[in-house]
């Protein structure tokens, strides 16, 4: 019983972790993409559709990442090339994604989906108590953990990561030094799109293998908040995502047991708990300021 709860926590946390990790890289480059929710839901509907039509969950995952990237390219073209307002563009991207996915997914409603199976390694998965927990999650869960480590390593240990952070800190200085600001931001935005697409696919292929309209249910927004409250640090995002997952599952069980607490209150608990904890973590203003990308959301027009 306890083991099962722990396993479901990872399932609730992974989509958040995937989306946040992408957005973290985007924001570290100085771009604020509020369209995470929109890219996620497009990933979800694409993943479901492609998997249902081909019968291959992996093809669905792959297609979701591509559609997420394409969607983010639209955002990139508008905000980076045409220098539109990032906040307004991001919001429209979310609205567009929600509407478009409902339209595409109309015929998917109620259809049986394909599930991306969990890992099953002989012997290891069968180890009592910890076997299923450590060796029996779905592949995307492992990918999201590797992604966290990878992003952390990339940002703080590589030259390319340093360049990306410098663009996010001060794009004018970066430009004057000859760093290709716009190109780096495009790459970051596309990475964010791919991650959001994956997160969406996770929802419709692992979390609940079916298509439900608006099935992201605000997770894109939570992902955005996670990035900010985690002070743009990958391991804190991971902690925030798993905390959210834990409280989500915990309150579901509490609802089932029925303590007489209003279910609405319980449902809002994960959001509240995550934000409160992360606000407490980010109390150190100095650390927060050192990690906040100073150019975040500011438009950049090179003078040539």
């Amino acid at each position: 019983m306890f083991e099962a709860i722990l396993i479901t926590i990872a399932t609730a946390a992974t989509p958040l972790l995937l989306a946040s990790m992408g957005e973290l890289v985007v924001e570290r480059s100085g771009v604020l993409n509020l369209g995470v929710e929109g890219m996620m839901i497009m990933g979800a509907v694409t993943g479901f559709g492609v998997a249902a039509m081909t019968g291959s969950a992996w093809l669905g995952v792959f297609a979701a990442a591509i559609v997420g990237t394409l969607f983010s390219l639209l955002f990139g073209f508008l905000t980076l090339t045409l220098v539109t307002n990032q906040v307004a563009t991001g919001l429209s991207l979310t609205l567009l994604g929600l509407g478009l996915s409902s339209m595409i997914g109309e015929s998917f409603v109620g259809r049986a989906g394909v599930r991306l199976g969990a890992l099953d390694i002989p012997y290891l998965t069968e180890i009592p108590y910890i076997g299923r927990l450590i060796f029996g999650q779905d592949p995307l869960c492992y990918i999201s953990l590797l992604l966290t480590a990878g992003v952390s390593w990339f940002l703080f240990r590589t030259r390319a990561g340093l360049t990306l952070r410098s663009v996010g800190d001060n794009h004018s200085s970066a430009h004057a030094l000859g760093i290709p600001v716009i190109r780096i931001r495009y790459l970051a935005v596309m990475f964010g799109g791919a991650c959001a697409g994956l997160a969406g696919a996770y929802l419709s292929l692992v979390y609940v293998p079916q298509w439900v309209e608006n099935m992201t249910a605000g997770r894109g927004w939570i992902a955005l908040a996670l990035v900010v409250f985690a002070s743009w640090r990958p391991w804190r995002v991971l902690a925030g995502a798993y905390l959210f997952g834990a409280v989500t599952i915990g309150q579901l069980h509490a609802q089932a047991l029925g303590y007489g607490i209003p279910p609405q209150l319980l449902s809002s608990l994960p959001y509240l708990a995550t934000i409160i904890v992360l606000v407490l973590i980010s109390r150190n203003r100095r650390l927060t300021m050192m990690n906040t990308p100073a150019s975040l959301g500011r438009p950049f027009v090179p003078d040539r």
């Binding site: 030259r159 340093l162 410098s166 001060n170 004057a176 300021m289 050192m290």
Partner: protein, 513 residues
């Protein structure tokens, strides 16, 4: 054969010819000065040489061969390095990360740090590699810029106004490093408007005016005033200062002012005392980022004090009053940032006039229902413009359409127009050309002469020596006792700016005050 030669270099922005057929020759092992007023085209020219801007016309020859400097990267590759005036640094990164991010070759971080340390030793430029740039002083930031530039082993180093933010002692140290570079056969293009400095260290000078080369000369054979004449095109009106009649009545007092740092990059103020009497101009010197901005916010009421008597205006407690209330008590304030702080960029001059005076001059500018009397504010804006000789293209332009010097004249004139009894100005002539600066300084002197108390916060020591009756120095959030102008020397002030303990002179003076 010169190391670098520019032939007919031209850059056109819209209809403005920022650079107009500029010819420039820089020899090997030469320190070449580039002189000119603000807006003369110096920055545009060097940005083209460094590949940050594309020339509209003309060519650049490097060691006799024509080159296309298409990007800063390309400039660095052929051997041109640049130290920017507004440093191209990243506050959130450490000193060594800042150096690393600018390098094009993928050398490992350890090797780069070691090389940076060698350069830092060889040229006397100490820097803590692990410090975040946001925490460093301007002098230290400049050292990072220079080390970063030297790591590329450049043959030509472009320095854009390197000493404008340094103490005299820091500047001396920089000159020693430059001499060393020159001895190694490197060339330096030195941009400055400090003529004494140019005469001291430069071998050749090219003078720009309105985008054109007006003279090429040997600065050692010129006088400071002949160089100034080339830059401005006519004589700069010298500031006239009579023996001031300082009265005993203190109009502005700050008592035991402490203030915690509001954010991680801010400076905490501690134990600040000052008093400015009627007819007096008190100067506050100091290297940028030592608490001048925080002091201005406290005096102007942008930040309130804990106790009401910590700031007193005309003998009344003002510490708990906000900006408008302090203005109503007869004070006026001009902050450092012209655009965005002193003036709203997208609003017209008359609207900007109303913004700072709608409370103090409500009766004049608003009717009984609180509606704006547009014709009256337009008239007042016109009065300010003509009093301060603000040059503008149209009747009532947006603030952002004015050049820096003209806007600064306007924001200062806007306050002077009220004849304030207490005037507080932060960096009155920062980035303003010589003509406008002289106009502003004269206006401040005239205001003091009419019996007002004037507090001038400035990084420009020449300016403070020119207009002040006494100078106090800020360092690390503390303010020294004021030194009367008769006793003040550049050396004394410079040492205090660098953080030296006040000597006997200053202490005994404090007792006298």
């Amino acid at each position: 054969m010169p190391l670098l030669e520019a032939r007919g270099l031209t850059k056109i922005f819209g209809t403005l010819r920022a650079c107009d057929h500029i010819d420039l020759k820089i020899g090997r092992g030469e320190i070449h000065a580039l002189l000119g007023e603000n807006g003369a085209g110096k920055s545009t020219l060097v940005k083209m040489l460094f590949g940050a801007l594309e020339p509209t016309e003309g060519s650049i020859l490097w060691k006799g061969e024509q080159v296309a400097v298409s990007s800063p990267r390309e400039a660095r590759r052929i051997g041109i390095g640049m130290v920017f005036q507004h440093f191209c640094l990243f506050d959130a990164l450490t000193a060594s990360e800042n150096i690393l991010v600018s390098l094009d070759d993928p050398a490992p971080a350890g090797a780069v740090t070691a090389r940076a340390r060698d350069i830092s030793k060889a040229y006397g430029l100490p820097v803590d590699p692990n410090a975040h740039v946001g925490d460093l002083s301007v002098g230290e930031r400049q050292r990072i810029e220079i080390i970063r530039c030297l790591l590329q082993n450049p043959e030509l180093i472009i320095l854009d106004e390197p000493t404008s933010v340094l103490t005299p002692q820091e500047a001396d140290r920089l000159f020693e490093a430059l001499e060393k570079l020159k001895e190694e056969g490197r060339s330096i293009l030195y941009i400055s408007h400090r003529l004494e400095e140019v005469k001291r260290i430069c071998d050749r000078a090219t003078v720009l005016r309105q985008g054109k080369v007006v003279s090429e000369c040997d600065p050692r054979k010129e006088t400071a005033s002949s160089l100034a004449r080339m830059m401005v095109g006519n004589e700069v009106q010298p500031v006239v200062r009579d023996k001031p009649a300082v009265q005993s009545e203190a109009l502005l007092e700050v008592r035991d002012l402490d203030r915690k740092a509001g954010h991680p990059f801010a400076v905490a103020l501690s134990g600040i005392n000052l008093s400015v009497r009627a007819g007096e101009i008190l100067g506050v010197a100091g290297v940028a980022g030592n608490g001048q901005g925080e002091l201005f916010e406290a005096v102007s009421g942008e930040a309130l004090q804990e106790r009401a008597d910590q700031v007193r205006i005309r003998g009344k407690d003002a510490g708990r009053r906000d900006i408008s209330e302090r203005r109503l008590m007869g004070a006026a304030f001009v902050p450092e940032e012209r655009l965005g702080h002193a003036a709203a960029p997208a609003m017209t001059l008359s609207q900007n006039l109303l913004l700072s005076r709608y409370r103090t001059d409500a009766r004049a500018f608003l009717n009984r229902l609180g509606m704006i009397r547009n014709s009256l504010i337009a008239h007042a804006a016109q009065r300010v413009s003509s009093a301060m000789d603000v040059r503008k293209g149209v009747e009532d332009p947006e603030a952002s359409a004015l050049s820096g010097g003209n806007l600064q004249k306007f924001v200062i004139g806007r306050e002077l127009d009220r004849q304030p009894l207490v005037m507080v100005v932060n960096q009155p002539t920062w980035g303003v050309d010589a003509g406008a600066a002289a106009r502003i300084r004269q206006a401040l002197i005239d205001l003091a002469k009419s019996g007002s108390a004037v507090l001038v916060i400035s990084q420009d020591l020449d300016e403070l020596f020119e207009i002040c009756d006494a100078i106090a120095v800020m360092h690390g959030g503390r303010l020294s006792a004021p030194i009367p102008i008769g006793d003040a020397t550049y050396e004394k002030i410079g040492l205090l700016m660098g953080g030296a303990e006040p000597g006997h002179a200053a202490v005994s003076q404090a007792e006298a005050v």
